[in-house]
């Protein structure tokens, strides 16, 4: 029970177990069986389950999304894997017009049990076309489920749930989470696809984190605690449907809401959260909910510019304390030799 796996290994185990349990599951995507195995998440699967069930594809993301839909509509449970969400825009038509709509427009006569895994890049100069985080685009489309697990534990449980789900599930995985370990049971467990999780209780303000930003929120909560402020941290996990009630009930306790999205603020997931919370908990709010996330321009490549692009824990703590009417000066986390375009080494579970 105390076994540790990292995020990539956890996903691999979910795929491995699903492939073993259900002959209808197939895994396909560019590089799935290659020596790198999509950052380790598909390593060894082809050897274990054969080239018919774990396969590479041509550089045709659009058609292969349709192929997966054809498989799903005729009884299989395909898992499509993309090394960057940016690449999957080529398949956006299939996802939005077809995958999301078949079950509805065909009057529930068939379901579309497929999973589309997309990795979100960050750092090391991946720049404008390899590090977008486009969950908001999928979050707007009825018929899709959209998840962004943060911990290795949730990654495994939600992946198993996604594969078993009869709805299409889009799963966005942040690259910087891959090496982070957490307690991951060996059993085939399921984490619900539509529930946020309180990762740290607090009383003064609710911080909602999306994916990697949940870890930054936890670090910010530490800083706030040192300053005597108590932040509750919610790991959103489900982007569509949103678990509004979990957030609302947290805000009913703390009266303050700061969302830290891993994506553009404008027109993003954080806007929907604000709107939903305002609709349901207006009278509980002491101050206006605020949002942090990516600024309103594409990701620049040079580390000199990219360092400035992402919210950092001390900035989150600062904003939270301002919402509480305080003004402390929080110091950036000590990163030793590490530059900001690499993941923070200290983030390790269990969470």
């Amino acid at each position: 029970m105390n076994r540790s796996l990292n995020y990539g290994e956890a996903i691999r185990e979910a795929l491995d177990q699903s492939l073993s349990d259900d002959p209808d599951v197939v895994v396909m995507g560019l590089g799935v069986p290659d020596p790198k195995g999509v950052f380790g998440s598909t390593l060894g699967l082809q050897e274990r389950h054969g080239p018919e069930r774990v396969m590479d594809i041509p550089l045709s993301e659009n058609a292969v999304t349709g192929v997966a839909l054809g498989c799903a509509a005729t009884g299989m449970r395909p898992v499509l894997v993309h090394q960057r969400v940016d690449f999957t825009l080529t398949a956006f038509e299939q996802v939005v017009n077809q995958v999301a709509k078949w079950r509805f427009m065909f009057n529930d006569q068939m379901s579309v049990p497929m999973v589309i895994r997309m990795v979100v890049g960050r750092g090391w100069g991946q720049g404008p076309q390899h590090s977008q985080s486009l969950q908001a685009l999928f979050a707007h489309i009825p018929g899709l489920r959209v998840i962004m697990p943060t911990t290795a534990h949730d990654a495994k449980g939600m992946m198993i749930a996604a594969i078993r789900s009869d709805d299409p599930v889009v799963c966005l995985e942040h690259r910087w989470l891959y090496s982070i370990e957490d307690e991951v049971p060996e059993s085939r467990y399921v984490v619900p696809l539509d529930e946020a999780r309180i990762v740290r209780s607090g009383t003064d303000i609710t911080l909602v984190g999306v994916s990697y930003m949940t870890l930054e929120c936890l670090a910010a909560a530490d800083m706030l605690a040192e300053a005597g402020l108590s932040a509750e941290v919610v790991d959103l996990r489900s982007i569509r449907p949103l678990d509004t009630s979990a957030i609302v009930s947290s805000v009913e306790r703390t009266s303050r809401l700061l969302i830290v999205d891993n994506g553009h603020v404008v027109g993003g997931v954080s806007a929907e959260i604000v709107a939903a919370v305002v609709e349901q908990a207006f009278s509980h709010l002491e101050v206006a909910p605020e949002r942090m996330g990516f600024p309103d321009y594409p990701t620049p490549t040079s580390p000199a510019l990219a360092d400035d692009y992402y919210p950092l824990p001390h900035q989150i703590a600062m904003r939270a304390s301002e919402m509480l009417g305080k003004r402390f000066s929080f110091q950036p986390i000590d990163r030793g030799e590490r530059r900001l375009d690499q993941p923070h080494p200290a983030y390790q579970g269990p969470f």
């Binding site: 197939v26 018919e52 069930r53 594809i57 041509p58 045709s60 659009n62 058609a63 292969v64 999304t65 349709g66 192929v67 997966a68 839909l69 054809g70 498989c71 799903a72 509509a73 005729t74 009884g75 299989m76 038509e93 299939q94 017009n97 077809q98 078949w102 079950r103 509805f104 427009m105 065909f106 009057n107 006569q109 068939m110 379901s111 009825p142 018929g143 489920r145 749930a161 078993r164 789900s165 009869d166 709805d167 399921v190 619900p192 696809l193 539509d194 449907p241």
Partner: protein, 302 residues
């Protein structure tokens, strides 16, 4: 006759959805579906009524769908442009051009993966051959040696756009497909017998595991692109051209050859079937808005 009935009734404004009729192109649908077994699947695009019926779809459920009724093949949710009928082996028709093609290929992939002897036929138009996704689909089908027939009904137009502005004149559509290394053939899409021979030939080799086939059929749409009327007056094609194709009526072709004679009793029988289907559609209830408002997502898994 079915589609003529639709064309006649459409102006009553009870079929409140766009319809793309196949009048003039019937031979392709009939000839190609002739060799399909009931376990095989057909997939189509925006112009799909003929494919649906030829694959054994229900005339009643089609008309009810056009009339937006709960007894339609998608319960009124899809309308003319989004059909499905798994009981007839008609997987789907969807109207984003090219977009249903990889789905058909996926159905063929799944048939092969599960060791079934199912075969899939996907219908496309000449315009669809300009979409990237069709090329990706052809390549995928060839690489995986899938049991799928691509049937292209080349009716010379994409809406009102002639070939010249869309494709080069010095290659055929079959040539284009052949670039992918797929077996191709081509023929007169207005001759149901010829079509059936070509299709059967394709099915034989597909069933023998020799991989996908691409079939180009030349034909012509008589009515407007979308809607019930003739539109030779608006000037995108010449009356000469129309008359030439009109003379090559797929039904007359068979009749002239004596293969099929449309006897008065047949005509009557069909007419009465159509009449019954229209009645059925008209008398069917509309879907209940309350039931549509169900949440789109299934309940969570556990």
């Amino acid at each position: 006759m079915v589609e003529e009935a639709i064309a006649n009734l459409y102006p009553e404004q009870e079929m409140r959805c766009p319809v793309h009729l196949s009048i003039g192109q019937e031979a392709a649908a009939v000839g190609v579906c002739d060799g399909l077994r009931s376990g095989d699947l057909a997939v189509s695009g925006h112009r799909s009524h003929a494919h649906y019926l030829a694959k054994g779809g229900s005339l009643k459920r089609l008309l009810a769908e056009l009339y937006g009724r709960s007894t339609g093949c998608t319960g009124g949710l899809g309308g003319s442009m989004h059909l499905t009928d798994l009981s007839a082996g008609f997987l789907a028709a969807t109207p984003i051009v090219g977009s249903s093609v990889p789905v058909a290929v996926g159905a063929a992939f799944s048939a092969k993966a599960r060791g079934s002897d199912r075969l899939v036929t996907i219908f496309v138009g000449d315009g669809a051959m300009e979409t990237g996704v069709v090329h990706e689909s052809l390549n995928f089908a060839v690489v995986h040696n899938l049991p799928v027939l691509f049937c292209c009904e080349n009716n010379l137009y994409s809406v009102y756009s002639p070939m010249e502005v869309r494709q080069p004149g010095h290659r055929t559509i079959a040539d284009l497909a052949a670039g992918h290394g797929i077996r191709t053939s081509a023929g007169d899409g207005n001759d149901a017998e010829e079509v059936a021979v070509l299709a059967d030939d394709a099915y034989r080799s597909i069933r023998a595991g020799e991989g996908p086939v691409f079939l180009e059929l030349s034909t012509y749409r008589w009515r407007e692109h979308c809607g019930p009327n003739y539109d030779n007056d608006i000037g995108y094609r010449s009356l000469d051209e129309f008359d030439l194709w009109r003379a090559n009526d797929p039904i007359e072709v068979l009749a002239a050859r004596g293969v099929w004679s449309q006897r008065a009793s047949d005509t009557e029988e069909i007419a009465s079937e159509i009449h019954l289907a229209v009645e059925f559609a008209r008398e069917s209830p509309f879907p209940d808005p309350e039931t549509v408002r169900y949440p789109v997502l299934h309940r969570s898994v556990s």
